[in-house]
Symmetry: C2
Subunit: 187 residues, 2 copies
Amino acid sequence: MSGNFKVAVLVGSLRKDSVNRKLALAMTEMAPPGLRFQLVDIGQLPFYNEDNDDPALSEWQDFRDTMKKVDAVLFVTPEYNRSVPAVLKNALDVGSRPMGESVWDGKPGAVVTASPGGIGGFGANHHLRQSLVFLNVPTLQQPEMYIGNAYSLFDEQGKLNNDGTRQYLKGFLAKFTDWIEANSQAA
Amino acid sequence: MSGNFKVAVLVGSLRKDSVNRKLALAMTEMAPPGLRFQLVDIGQLPFYNEDNDDPALSEWQDFRDTMKKVDAVLFVTPEYNRSVPAVLKNALDVGSRPMGESVWDGKPGAVVTASPGGIGGFGANHHLRQSLVFLNVPTLQQPEMYIGNAYSLFDEQGKLNNDGTRQYLKGFLAKFTDWIEANSQAA
């Protein structure tokens, strides 16, 4: 049954001390046997501009090459001004081009948003989901992951400080594994 | 009555031949007497990262200084993957920081989206509006501006090729002028 799926993890914050990066690392450390997580950097990608896409900028080409080799994608992002941070939106746009060669098409995905406040990045989560509809990324619906008060979940070493959150993330990752198995083009 | 308002025009595409840029220039050329339009470049702004904001990167500071001097803002943007292009979202994010010093707060705005297809950038238009709620930009509601089949409206010199569109944009700019007068902090 269980495949061995490569999963790109894209983090929507560039801050060194980002709570979303901590969350992404925590999930990476507790990856189920069937999933191999790979953090993919997106901060070095220039803004998408079709004028520079024939031939493609090398940063764009490298990113596309990396993404074409993975079986699924996990987005872990904060919310900026009730929407998706530009750095993550740019990765979506770069990966979607040139027309007909999108790296996203048909690749299973999941969205996790985390924020210091109570809303847990709901605005970013659903703006991202709207783009994922267009990009034809079959996206895990439940469990939804809006992680509020996120700073309180990590200790000073950046590790999860409680077992409840750990179990919650484990449950999510199990569902995500099932989702990838059901929807993967590589299965 | 009529004030003399400075209006920043932010274009969400970096392409030289962008139809949204043509549209922005067309509106600039037909600016009503009370408005002075100023195209503000946003393509040079690095992705927002709080780690680089104390002191601020010079590109961010220059942009903030420019935006603090204008009375209103006009967004003219394509849609990328059913949402706002990263370059424009980044400008919103950069201008919104540091906390408590947002350049957007209370500044009247309007949104125009244009696309080659029939939907006219509806997805980008309303994602942008969601951010503008949070940023407290009083945003012109009507007339909504979803400009579909936009390539067909310009000639080979990049000028509007028909009087109907010209009148339509003039009507929009008149309403926008009223909106700025009613909502401007500088009034």
